[in-house]
């Protein structure tokens, strides 16, 4: 905004991506998706603000997968670069570190952290990303519906997401009195390489009739390792594996091959990758499919995480256009409560920054050794859930 008013100035947007460190894989995808989006927007003239179209300038910083770096990046974006919005910030603890700066400086910030901690009313931290609690919801629905699955074993990460998951299980089965029960089979660390001992424990519980299925809470690459290993040990032949986003959205479902057999996973962005499957296509709106077709023309990664980042950018653009301003507070007002159509479908964001987005529970099978969608036991809008016990029921 240093260029002053009128149509000449660019709109500055920030991005805090992990380009190194443990989350670097996501940072890499985010950069590519955001760059493709920016180029597309600028080719079309830019973002329309208050009658004039302005070009987009992206300022990106590496948060090194560390909170302190994320925080100083946010501070820099807010004070030195004076951006109108921050398109991405990663990890839950990263979001917590960034939140005060986003709020103080009134910079709406899209986060990919899953913690409810930044979801105070009026927050500038927004997301289209599923929270840990939303993550497990469709799977729990499946337990409710299914006659075979009554009791589930739970394997969760150490740390806050795992805590949230177990708290949800506790609330669902014990407090809310839903049918069935869960058994905590242990916590593992994200960097874990070997899951043999957990698998042994799960097998034992299954053989003793204590559980009928296994819920695994983890994210992407760890989930990939888990699935590969349970498949090697033949666990999928005995019992279904239930999981959230991690099971469907990791790098490439194809890599895991046969291991996807008998896996139930939450698909949100992944649905697009399976859009040629009829059952899946039914869960996606036509408008979303059109937008996705346009996305495919771009030089952007065909990866669920990239779809999510792209959708964030889309919503940001609509927000700015809707607000007719590059002022953070006005953009936020425009974002909250408005229904936007993105390539992942229709979505709204509430005053706590939480989204309501479409999703589906996908049961995978295999064709030879390529995973295919077997059926879609559940689809619909995932409601915003901001705390445990959940304030909103499905």
């Amino acid at each position: 905004s240093s260029f002053g008013g009128g149509g000449g100035g660019t709109i500055k947007l920030g991005a805090i991506n992990p380009l190194s460190g443990s989350a670097a894989f996501y940072g890499e995808l985010a950069t590519k998706a955001q760059t493709a989006w920016k180029e597309q927007v600028n080719e079309n003239g830019g973002i329309e603000v208050d009658g004039s179209t302005r070009q987009v300038e992206l300022v990106e910083y590496d948060d090194e997968s560390k909170n302190s770096a994320a925080r100083s990046a946010a501070k820099r974006l807010a004070t030195v670069d004076d951006v109108s919005m921050i398109l991405s910030s990663w990890r839950s603890t990263g979001a917590i570190a960034v939140a005060p700066i986003a709020n103080q400086n009134e910079v709406p910030t899209f986060t990919h952290g899953f913690t409810p901690q930044v979801n105070d009313p009026g927050t500038y931290m927004m997301r289209l990303t599923v929270s840990t609690v939303m993550d497990a919801y469709p799977a729990l629905q499946q337990v409710e519906k299914s006659d075979e699955i009554q009791n589930i074993g739970v394997i969760a990460e150490t740390g806050d997401w795992g805590d949230d998951t177990l708290a949800l299980m506790d609330w669902w089965f014990n407090e809310s009195g839903h049918e069935g029960d869960y058994k905590n089979l242990g916590r593992f660390s994200f960097s874990q390489q070997d899951f043999s001992s957990y698998l042994t424990k799960a097998k034992q519980a299954y053989n003793n009739g204590e559980i009928d299925a296994l819920y695994v809470q983890t994210w992407a690459s760890a989930m990939q390792r888990f699935l590969a290993q349970q498949h090697r040990e033949g666990l999928h032949e005995m019992m279904p594996i239930l999981t959230g986003l991690g099971g469907a959205d990791f790098n490439s479902v194809d890599d895991v091959g046969e291991a996807m057999e008998n896996v139930y996973a939450l698909g949100v962005y992944t649905r697009l990758s399976y859009a040629d499957n009829d059952a899946i296509a039914e869960t996606i709106s036509d408008e979303a499919l059109t937008q996705f077709d346009q996305y495919k023309q771009l030089d952007a990664p065909m990866h669920p995480v990239a779809f999510n980042v792209y959708a964030d950018a889309q919503i940001s653009q609509r927000g700015i256009e809707e607000a007719g301003s590059t002022e953070g507070a006005e953009i936020r007002n425009a974002l909250v409560g408005t229904e936007f159509t993105t390539l992942i479908g229709d979505a709204t964001i509430n005053d706590r920054g939480q989204p309501a987005i479409p999703g589906a529970l996908i049961k995978f099978g295999t064709d030879g050794d390529t995973p295919v969608v077997d059926e879609v036991p559940w689809s619909g809008q995932l409601p915003p859930i901001t705390s445990i016990p959940p304030e909103t029921d499905l």
Binding site: D62, K66, N67, T79, T93, A97, P100, Q117, T158
Partner: protein, 342 residues
Amino acid sequence: MSADTESGFANRNLAVDMPGVEWRAVAKSVGITLLLGLLAAPLVAGSSYIGYVALTVVIFAVMASGYNLMLGWPNLLVFCPAALAIIGGVTSALLVNVFGVPYLVAMVSGGVVAAVIGGFIAFSAIAIGSSFEIIIATLAFEEIVYYVFTNWHAVGPTGISNVPAPTAGPLTFQTQLEQYLFLLVMLTISIGIVAVFDRSLTGTLTVATSENEDLLRSIGYNPKKYKFIAVVVGALLLGIGGSLYAHVNGLITPGGFTLDQTVFLLVIAVVGGIRTVHGPIVGAIVLVGLPEVVRMFGLSNMKPYIIGGMLVVVVLFFPRGILGGLYDAIDNRGDLSWQFWK
């Protein structure tokens, strides 16, 4: 020549100086810190980004000063400064948030709790003796602290947020400049503590422990005592640094105080100059500032190469760190008048 030496000796009158603290040297160290710190204050005004960076520099300088006390004087390779810092930070944040204790009291309590834990660490490290075993045992301790905090409800993996800004009686340090001045005072006090230690018999004896324990014992000193003091005082400063971190940033998370942070503090101490009073300040400026410079030149992508390369270069060519190397160069030139600020 010999007359010269003798008069030199008489001037130094070391025999008398040795047991006490060389207060003038301490005053110089403290004065320089305060002076240069105040000169930098205009940069911090407003809510400028450079001011924000300056706050981080000062906080890390305080923590690294504490760590330097453990590494530099008794040469103990204690590998858990981050754990001590977060113990101080969490103590102080909880005291203020939960019990409404005044900030200064909470800060000192944070330091004291860290110092007590530091005492246990010192005790164990001294008993263990072998340097690699000390490294691993303290690293293990750091992991335990991490597990305990992430699993403790009062802290958890997402840490404590909404930690209020530091206060002193009626004063609240809210703006960047206020916080900077407060931090500068704390840094000056820390530097003073390190300088007193350095310029006292205790400091000399602590250095001697790293050189030859048997000899030290044979002349009537207990090396364990001096190592213990260095680690405990170091832990005190780390705890206070952790408290400053929590309250200035408003947030403290266990994940931010693991091995990475320890390594960062180690790098600050070594790059600045182990066993130099001002080394941690120089190290903090370089290591907190460097990424900003890298960013300014649009070399973010190259950062791991730049930082990694710098470490290799420092190790190969400046084994005593920037300040240590500078002092050596000045010493070698034999120009004693320059040593006034050592």
